[in-house]
């Protein structure tokens, strides 16, 4: 049994093992999540409350108001959790599929590997953004469409990377000794293959969240997201369609863009690993 003390010690140990930029990423994310989950108390206005439209930044509305007079800052704060939630679930779905396929084919090999990796290659051939646009425009508008599209398309790179790592791990001495001691496939996968693929899985997951955020933003910007849910992508879309760009109302469209970039960058920072100080390896 793990006690609270053990969990704390584990967290402290993990934290110490992180690179500086990873710590920075974790810090940014924690800050955003705190603000986002406290949105009803922190945000100065209800994000749906209307008022005078197209206001410039002022002390009452730091980022001005949009075409319906809704406070941009409040919408930005309420958008944090929506955006991260969608991206997180989408990345989780694609991770679950990708890791299962990768580990299973990498460990069992043979015809299973050929079949699964063949399917992965097929999926990789599908251009994701056009398909997302297609699917999003045919399905009922909902934020979960994005989860569906991203989850079921973006597992392929994860599957390939995890597959490659599993191939390495299965030839290690400890897997061979486990086989010699009569352990079956499920045990070996759960206790040896998966923990030893942890690094690439975590990296792929954080990168998946970042990419899902960007995809969500693109789809929302194209007007294919749920118009009722407040996300940063839909804010940019609104600014674009209601003249924010044309009239150069930068306080309207710039903050959500910066937030998308910052959050995606934070996820990349957490998951990325520097390779010999030169390259960023995801």
């Amino acid at each position: 049994m793990r006690t609270w003390k053990g969990i704390c010690a584990y967290i402290v140990r993990t934290w110490r093992g992180l690179e500086t930029y990873q710590k920075a990423g974790v810090f940014i994310l924690l800050l955003l999540i705190t603000i986002g989950s406290l949105a009803p108390w922190i945000a100065p206005y209800d994000p749906l409350q209307t008022g005078t439209p197209f206001q410039s930044p002022s002390f009452t509305h730091p980022f001005g108001t949009d075409n319906l007079g809704q406070d941009n800052l409040s919408r930005l704060i309420y958008g944090i959790m929506n955006t991260i939630k969608i991206a997180f679930v989408a990345a989780l779905v694609s991770l679950a599929i990708g890791v299962s396929v990768g580990v299973y084919s990498g460990y069992y090999r043979g015809w299973r590997e050929d079949a699964l990796m063949g399917v992965t290659d097929l999926f990789l051939l599908i251009p994701s953004l056009p398909l997302m646009i297609l699917m999003a425009s045919y399905l009922e508008p909902s934020e979960w469409n994005i989860v569906l599209v991203i989850g079921f398309l973006w597992w392929c790179p994860t599957a390939r990377v995890v597959h490659a790592r599993a191939l390495q791990v299965r030839n290690q001495g400890y897997v061979r000794s486990a086989l010699a001691l009569g352990y079956g496939g499920p045990y070996i996968i759960w206790h040896h293959i998966l923990p030893n693929c942890k690094q690439v899985i975590i990296a792929k997951f954080t990168m998946g969240v970042a990419l899902a955020m960007l995809a969500e933003a693109s789809l929302s910007f194209l007007g294919l997201g749920d118009p009722l849910s407040i996300t940063w992508g839909s804010m940019v879309n609104l600014a674009y369609s209601c003249g924010g760009f044309a009239n150069d109302l930068w306080w309207w469209y710039l903050p959500p863009c910066i937030m998308i970039t910052l959050t995606a960058a934070a996820f990349f920072m957490v998951g990325g690993r520097k390779n010999e100080g030169r390259r960023w390896q995801i």
């Binding site: 001495g173 001691l181 009569g182 079956g184 206790h191």
Partner: protein, 309 residues
């Protein structure tokens, strides 16, 4: 045979590599009775480890295995996969050769040992833990509580080797196959490890692969392998102290305390149709161009034309 734990019949193992065939085992016959211990010695590449893996059917997809391996009367190569998993670990326990890589680097050594005990003996976690601690203590891994909680990279080769042995000696497998279990151990710990391994042979059997003929002497029987064949097999006393095969004599001469003179020339990759040791033998004669069979002589079996009863 009554009370036979393992019997190997005419075992041949070939590896296919880029069109050429490498023969690793060439007709090995071996019997291990209940309560018996056997040392398997020979130079590197003579097929000792291949034999161990073949017994556990771990070579399946990389090699052609011919012949019969019976574990307690059951053909290992005919049984269902589930039964095989049951026999590995529970029936036959392998102590693998390289302790440095045999433990998962991300899990504590002690946890890996008690996990195995739990699986084999079907006992709960606390019992398995206390049993592995007892066993690690017996093998001299002290302070035992710290060692239990350690990760593999924090332990020395000798400690890991003894931890591997603990897996085998803490459980009551019918057959323990130990692949160089005394590697990296000093005299005292080697003694402890050997005694622990030999005690498992009391209610089962032990097959110990070794390069160390002094350790081999502690087993009841010794088999000497050369190029995938057994060349001399019999009671350890007579094989080691009074060896008759020129290859065994050469191995004895290459021991540090017996002059440390290595056997001249290299192993031939293609041994030809005659005696496989022919090219390196200093007692070779014309007869040796034909392949000798194992013959019973002076209390042991020998594969040599030039030994007289």
């Amino acid at each position: 045979m009554n009370g036979s734990v393992l019997s190997v019949r005419d075992l041949r193992v070939n590896f296919q590599t880029n069109g050429s065939k490498v023969s690793a085992l060439n007709g090995v016959d071996l019997d291990l009775a209940q309560g018996e211990s056997l040392a398997l010695a020979g130079e590197s590449g003579s097929g000792k480890s291949v034999l161990a893996f073949a017994v556990l059917r771990l070579l399946d997809d990389v090699a052609d295995v011919e012949g019969k391996i019976l574990f307690e009367g059951e053909d290992v190569y005919q049984m269902a996969h589930g039964r095989l998993l049951d026999i590995r670990g529970k029936g036959i326990c392998l102590v693998p050769q390289s302790p440095g890589t045999a433990f998962d680097p991300l899990r504590k050594v002690g946890v890996q040992i008690s996990d195995f005990i739990r699986k084999v003996e079907q006992i709960d976690a606390a019992d398995a833990r206390s049993r592995s601690i007892t066993e690690m203590d017996r093998l001299g891994l002290r302070p035992v509580k710290d060692t239990y909680e350690n990760y593999p990279h924090r332990m020395s080769g000798g400690m890991l080797e003894r931890s591997l042995i603990a897996c085998a000696t803490a459980t009551s497998s019918r057959l323990v196959i130990a692949d160089e279990p005394t590697k990296g151990l000093d005299r005292r710990t080697k003694d402890i490890a050997l005694s622990a391994l030999l005690s498992t042979a009391e209610n089962g059997a032990l097959m110990m692969i070794t390069h160390d003929l002094t350790s081999a002497k502690r087993c009841e029987r010794t088999a000497i392998m050369y190029c995938g064949e057994l060349v001399e097999i019999g009671p350890s006393e007579s094989v080691i102290e009074d060896s008759v095969h020129p290859y065994t004599k050469g191995l004895i001469r290459s021991m540090p305390e017996r002059g440390m003179t290595p056997i001249p020339r290299r192993v031939r990759s293609d041994p030809g149709g005659g005696c496989r040791f022919y090219s390196r033998c200093n007692e070779a004669s014309e007869k040796c161009l034909f392949h000798p069979d194992l013959r019973m002589m002076r209390g042991r079996e020998v594969r040599c034309w030039n030994v007289d009863a």
